[in-house]
Symmetry: C2
Subunit: 251 residues, 2 copies
Amino acid sequence: MLHLVGLGLNTGDIPESSLKLCKKCDTYVDNYTSLVSDEYQEWLKKELGKDLHMIGRSSLEEEVGMLLEKAKSGDIAVLVAGDPLIATTHKIIFIEAKKKNVAIAVHHAASILSTLIGESGLDFYRFGSPCTIASWSQDYKPVSFYETIQRNVQGNLHTVVFLDYDNQKRSSMSITEAVRIMFEAEKHYKKWLVYDDMKVVVLHRMAFGDQKKLFLTIKEAAHLDLSPGPSALVYPAKITDIEKEVMQSMY
Amino acid sequence: MLHLVGLGLNTGDIPESSLKLCKKCDTYVDNYTSLVSDEYQEWLKKELGKDLHMIGRSSLEEEVGMLLEKAKSGDIAVLVAGDPLIATTHKIIFIEAKKKNVAIAVHHAASILSTLIGESGLDFYRFGSPCTIASWSQDYKPVSFYETIQRNVQGNLHTVVFLDYDNQKRSSMSITEAVRIMFEAEKHYKKWLVYDDMKVVVLHRMAFGDQKKLFLTIKEAAHLDLSPGPSALVYPAKITDIEKEVMQSMY
């Protein structure tokens, strides 16, 4: 059987039940789709009392065939950052497993989506669909995330804005880079959603001991000097009085 | 300090780091806002090697003053089902804590929102805002959840439909009851969103060993005979080919 095991957000966030499970599995860490820190890897080795196989140089998708083959005769655990099944890659595994008639079990863990929504202090029911600001390259400069924000604003809904994961830098895009792209998107769409005085929520290093939550203008965000680590934004709709009160107590 | 500690979805889902933390805390279980099973409580007692204080008869909100008072001089852990901060109750604690100048730390865990989105097999980015079907009483028959589904359908977005938690039955509303209320809502709004042949996703006992995922017509859902346990629905927008393929491999 193949076990997709969520590691949660920070070192030690793996559920106790999953940790027990991994002790009896041949254990692989997916360090390609997202980041499992060196510290967390060391912690896992120590807790499990064994070495881990790393999936890092080639993508998890390339390794699926080998993993499924092994899962036919034994228990294989694939450890992934956050909660599994959010990444498309992890769903692709199901399709391949079905073809090969290999059973998969999913073991959930703390999720960045739920964490961002909760930590923002904004009302859970007022979040529209999320979007991601993708990294720009010479030939590819996507701005369609703006359309998601626009649709949500029209419905008076908040937007979780994920920032692209940069596998080479081994972190997410910085807030300053994200804001730069937001201004570029504004130039493209011109719907007056991104302007200096607009206030956004910055959520930095969530679930780490030194996490930072800021509610500040986009102009201020453009010059933020944050420590390395994963960041995300929330683009809020109209904030209600109760949301304001909660935010003031949580930030 | 007051620690809000998520327990995740099923027995043993507490993150390893949180389990360690609870060993040095005076530990309370919030069994009022949502359900922490007897089995999970017994498991926690055994793992922690101590008794747990239960918050069950009166609501967590009524107990906040006492908990914060204790948190001034020691480490207090409040254990909650799922991921903290989704429930409004847990945010209210922040407001009270701010007034009393007591620090709060949140320890995230597997979340039902992320689990439902992931397990549905539907595209993460295509979920609009969620809604809850509330229980009906003689005097209170809310149907406004229908408006959320309607807005999402108009934007071709999926909807996570939570079912009200029934503290007395210690479970969620049943799927059959939910479907009954959906048909009542249809009579009220008449937007042709709820009809016999419409297909919905039923997610039952997620993260439990015997979880069930079904993609069936509302008419079939109306007569579903499921074992006790938490259920939820996803009301899908137009399902894409890739989503279909993923669903076929995951259900």
